[in-house]
């Protein structure tokens, strides 16, 4: 009862409400700028929290996290530029909806789906933190590696009519992830004397190049060069009706479940949850053929999932002190700065901070909805300007965002190269999604693959001895084989 009072107290506290709105606004702004990731937006605000009381500071930072997770979907839908990994899966149907003049509808789905998802995640966070955190303990290194492989296999197998190309794209993504210093031996791999490559290629550069720059190159080839985008007629936000939300209940429930599981899994994060939700929503959809062509389900599933993760990712952070992502690592740092030690004792010693944070997050989700309604219509108007102005603005936004990651002009050259690669792959009808997922999951897969082999004395049989790993790998194989047979049957002429 006392815990519930802490939650209520936070929800009516003016300082908490202000922190939630301010954090959310900053997060939406930072999250929507390519290159300014969620963790960077949070880190930029960290110095301002030193003088705040711990509850307000935590709410401020967690609200940035909530706002940024949503903000990433704005450029993903409007300019095919996902500002974060967790918004990458939104690009496909969100941008298609924009091209069809349904920007307001896509942003409305993303906003409301995200808000509901955030609230669902929050309920789980508040009620079951300590119990459900035990699930994460089931994942051994072989299971983690298998989970990553399953993720890529799922995405590749549903690449419409192009499973082989999807797997190839996934492997190319994994190859890109191997560039840089090997974290175990310290050996530089595939860097060819370039010091700028020692830390590897940032995932944001890969996404900017593959998605955004390749799209700009595609757009440059279109004949309607001087015209405004097709979506000019849609300039206002359209919130989904209750009937629409009920019709879209299946992808939302899928996203809730996957968002919950991924949030609990350290290293999982919003990217995997949104990719998996997108694919599962497609698998369970009555209209799978609409995916990739402006499907509402294809927008609401990933957007709901990444907002569920924004809440549930706090569970391992608060319960075990294990941050699942860079963003929760910043939050963990802020806890420590304020003298709060994460772990089970945090709930006993500082309930006002923990439950105050839950209350603040509730306000933050509400703030996201309000700010979204106010800000999105002007943003849609801005994006519907004629191509000559719009394309220049997008190009500078991409380049400025890329530069701000490492303050390096080398990165700009790199992103141009990746953009050219993306253009070639798109021209040859290779799906880009598995490639991005491969690059995102590469470090996690490699670390756990090597750890597993070390545990098994170099014998790969360990992946089959672990029941969870064996199940996940069998699922991956099953999906790939069935998809390959289906694809070959439809195209081969005997």
């Amino acid at each position: 009862m006392q815990d519930f009072l802490y939650v209520l107290e936070a929800m009516v506290s003016p300082s908490i409400i202000f922190a939630a709105f301010a954090g959310c606004l900053w997060g939406m702004m930072g999250g929507s700028l390519p290159g300014i990731s969620t963790s960077i937006a949070m880190a930029l605000l960290l110095p301002f929290t030193f003088d705040l009381n711990p509850s307000t500071a935590m709410v401020l930072l967690a609200s940035v996290y909530v706002g940024a997770e949503y903000g990433g979907s704005i450029p993903a839908i409007l300019i095919r530029t996902p500002a974060s990994g967790s918004a990458a899966a939104t690009v496909f149907d969100g941008y298609e909806m924009h091209r069809q003049g349904r920007s307001g509808e896509a942003l409305g789905l993303s906003l409301v789906g995200g808000t509901i998802g955030g609230l669902v995640g929050l309920v789980v966070l508040a009620t079951a933190t300590e119990t459900v955190a035990q699930l994460a303990l089931l994942f051994t290194p072989p299971a983690y590696a298998a989970l990553g492989i399953l993720g890529i296999s799922v995405v590749a197998s549903v690449s419409s009519g192009a499973m082989v190309k999807g797997v190839i794209a996934g492997i190319l993504g994994l190859m890109i992830a191997t560039i840089g210093t090997d974290p175990i031996s310290g050996i530089g791999r595939f860097i060819y004397g370039q010091a700028d490559l020692l830390e590897g290629i940032s995932i944001i550069l890969i996404m900017m190049g593959l998605f955004a720059l390749s799209e700009q190159m595609m757009q440059a080839g279109q004949p309607d060069m001087a015209a405004a985008p097709e979506a000019r007629r849609s300039t206002r936000l359209v919130l989904p009706s209750l009937k629409t939300l009920w019709r879209l209940r299946v992808p939302q429930v899928i996203a809730w479940v996957l968002g919950l599981i991924e949030g609990l899994t350290p290293g999982g994060g919003g990217s995997i949850a949104s990719f998996m939700s997108y694919n599962e929503a497609r698998r369970w959809s009555k209209e799978p053929e609409k995916f990739g062509h402006g499907s509402e389900e294809g927008v609401i599933a990933p957007e709901t999932a990444n907002n569920v993760v924004a809440s549930t990712a706090l569970i391992p952070t608060l319960s075990f002190g294990i941050p699942g992502s860079n963003s929760t690592a910043v939050l963990l740092g802020a806890l420590l700065i304020h003298g709060l030690q994460p772990g089970p004792l945090l709930f006993a010693r500082h309930p006002e901070v923990v439950y105050g944070l839950f209350g603040g997050l509730f306000v933050a989700n509400f703030a996201m909805l309000v700010l979204g309604v106010i800000l999105l219509s002007p943003i849609i108007w801005l994006v519907n300007q004629p191509k000559p102005y719009l394309q220049g603005g997008i190009f500078i936004l991409i380049m400025s965002g890329v530069y701000s990651v490492n303050n390096s002009t080398f990165d700009l050259g790199l992103v141009l190269g990746i953009g050219a690669l993306g253009f070639i792959l798109r021209a040859l009808s290779f799906p880009l999604l598995p490639m991005v997922l491969g690059a995102v999951l590469g470090p996690m897969i490699e670390a756990n693959y090597r750890r597993s082999l070390l545990m098994g004395g170099g014998d790969p049989i360990i992946f089959l001895h672990d029941p969870l790993s064996a199940t996940l790998l069998a699922l991956a194989l099953l999906m790939l084989v069935t998809s390959f047979i289906r694809e070959t049957r439809s195209s081969v002429h005997f």
């Binding site: 300014i36 492997i171 175990i184 031996s185 050996i187 080839g221 102005y389 500078i396 400025s400």
Partner: protein, 165 residues
């Protein structure tokens, strides 16, 4: 050349290029130095596995392309962008490359204004006061957003040295 393309198909050629990439990547991985810190698997463990996997999948792609019906092969050729589309895309890419080359010495605001003007003209706008105003306004807004508000140290170019003297 055209008949060869017809036999193996666009995807078959893509598969051949990928197969070459897989071989080169595997050889490069094999050439990685060994370290006692790397454990029994080593830094080359996963890359070699990926090289083999890419090689295998490339062969599948080639096989698929060879076995594909002539109708599907023709359809895939038709799906390729036209020469004009490719040339315009390359042109846009060159503007991007120009921006990257100019940025370090021209500085962020000037390079941004120049890029906005060039892209506007590339998309068919004639040089005009309106385009110039758009470029200057864009440069100021982006400068204020990234340099001042977010504190990203954007390249200053030669201007501080010039005015410093």
């Amino acid at each position: 050349m055209r008949s060869r393309l017809a036999i193996i198909g666009v995807e078959g050629w893509a598969g051949l290029v990928l197969l070459c990439l897989a071989i080169v990547y595997w050889l490069q991985a094999d050439a990685l130095p060994r370290s006692a810190l790397g454990g029994s698997i080593g830094a080359d463990g996963l890359p070699k596995l990926l090289g083999v996997a890419l090689g295998f999948m490339s062969c599948l792609l080639i096989l698929q392309s060879i076995l594909a019906s002539p109708r599907i092969r023709q359809q895939k050729r038709d799906d390729l962008p036209s020469r004009t589309e490719i040339l315009r895309a390359v042109g846009f890419w060159c503007i991007g490359a120009g921006f990257v080359l100019v940025l370090p010495w021209a500085g962020y605001p000037v390079a941004v204004a120049a890029a906005l003007t060039t892209i506007g003209m590339y998309y068919g706008r004639r040089p005009s006061l309106r385009l110039l105003a758009f470029a200057i306004a864009g440069a100021v807004i982006f400068y204020l957003l990234f340099q001042k508000l977010l504190g990203v140290p954007m390249p200053q170019g030669i201007w501080p040295d010039l005015f410093g003297r």
